[in-house]
Amino acid sequence: MAPTVALVRKSLMRGRGPQRVRAIVSVTFGAQQAGAYEALKGFLDAAGGEGVDVQSVIFEPIMNIAVANAGYGTVGSVIEPRLSLLSSWTGFTTNLLGTHGILDFFKIEANNYAAGGGPYKRIYVRLYGMKAGPLFEEASTDAALTGGSFQVELEYTPCSGAEA
C-alpha cells in the first residue's frame, strides 16, 4: 500500500495570474501505507518506485513547466516546520546524526494523460542532515518506511482554467 495522501485545502489563488491554484497536501506513511526513501530521489510510494503520487487529490491536468523557464510552473514548498524530528519516522534508518533533519521540496513530475504510464503527479521531497565527518548529506536509502508525515503546499496552473 502506498502512503496516504490527503487534500487539506485547495483554493483559487488570485493575484498570481489567471487560474492559479494553491493546494496543501498531507502525506502520511503508516504500517498499511508503507513507503520508502531513496537518496537523490526522496520519499517514494514504494521501494524502487517513484515520488509520492498525489494524482488522487489533484486529478485535473496541470501545467508542468519548470519555473526557470516560464511563470506557469508548479511551485512547491514544505510547510513548516521543515526541521523534522528523526524519531518521528518509523522504520526509517536515515543514518543522520543528532535529533533533526531538514525536509526540502525537490520537484514535481506530472503526466496528465494515460499515455506514457500516466496520469500521475509525483512529488519528490528529500530529507537532509548531518552525517559522520561531519558532513551535510542526504538521508540514506531505506526500503521500509512505515510511519511519519509531512505537508506540502503546491501552486500550479490547471490546463482547463477551472478553479478546482
Binding site: G15, G17, V67, G71, V75, G76, F105, G133, L135, F136
Partner: protein, 155 residues
C-alpha cells in the same frame, strides 16, 4: 549588468493594497564577475553589494519580503562552493535581505540589492556560512519577492 531574469510579476491581492509578488531567476554565468562574500552572500559585480535587481524593478518599493524557492538545499557543486570549508555534499540557501535605494539622492544611483546566503556544516562541527569565493562560474536559484509599490501601480 547582472544576469537576472524576471519570471513573473503579478498583483497580489489579499495582503493589503498594491502588494506585488515577483519570481526572479538568478543565473550565474562565467562571463560576469560573480562571487560569494562571507557575511553578505552572492554578488554579481562587487563583493558585499549583492545582486542588483534595479533593472527589473525600476519602480519605488518598500517593505520587501523574500523567500528562496525550493529546493533550498543544493549541492555545493552547483555554485563552485565545493572544495572549501563547507563539509559534505550540500548547502542551504537562505534569503537574507534586500537593500533598497529608491531615489538618486546625493549623486548616488538607485538600487535594489538582493542578498542570498549559503550555509552548511563546517569543521567543529558547526553550522556555518560558505566562505568567500571568487569567481563563481555557474549556478542558479529562484527567489520570490513580495513588496508594496509606492506608486500604486500593479506592476
Amino acid at each position: 549588468m547582472p544576469d537576472v531574469t524576471l519570471i513573473r510579476k503579478t498583483y497580489k491581492r489579499g495582503r493589503g493594497p498594491q502588494r506585488i509578488r515577483a519570481l526572479v531567476w538568478v543565473h550565474i554565468e562565467g562571463a560576469q564577475a560573480w562571487g560569494y562574500d562571507n557575511g553578505t552572500g552572492f554578488y554579481s559585480t562587487v563583493a558585499g553589494e549583492g545582486v542588483d535587481l534595479q533593472t527589473l524593478f525600476p519602480e519605488a518599493v518598500l517593505n520587501v519580503k523574500g523567500d528562496v524557492v525550493e529546493p533550498k538545499v543544493r549541492a555545493t557543486t552547483d555554485f563552485d562552493l565545493n572544495g572549501r570549508t563547507l563539509l559534505g555534499t550540500y548547502c542551504m540557501l537562505d534569503f537574507d535581505n534586500m537593500a533598497i535605494a529608491n531615489y538618486n539622492v546625493g549623486g548616488g544611483t538607485p538600487y535594489k540589492r538582493l542578498y542570498v546566503r549559503a550555509y552548511g556544516i563546517v569543521a567543529g562541527p558547526g553550522w556555518g556560512e560558505a566562505p568567500d569565493a571568487d569567481p563563481l562560474t555557474h549556478g542558479q536559484f529562484t527567489v520570490e519577492l513580495e513588496f508594496t509599490s509606492m506608486s500604486g501601480a500593479e506592476g
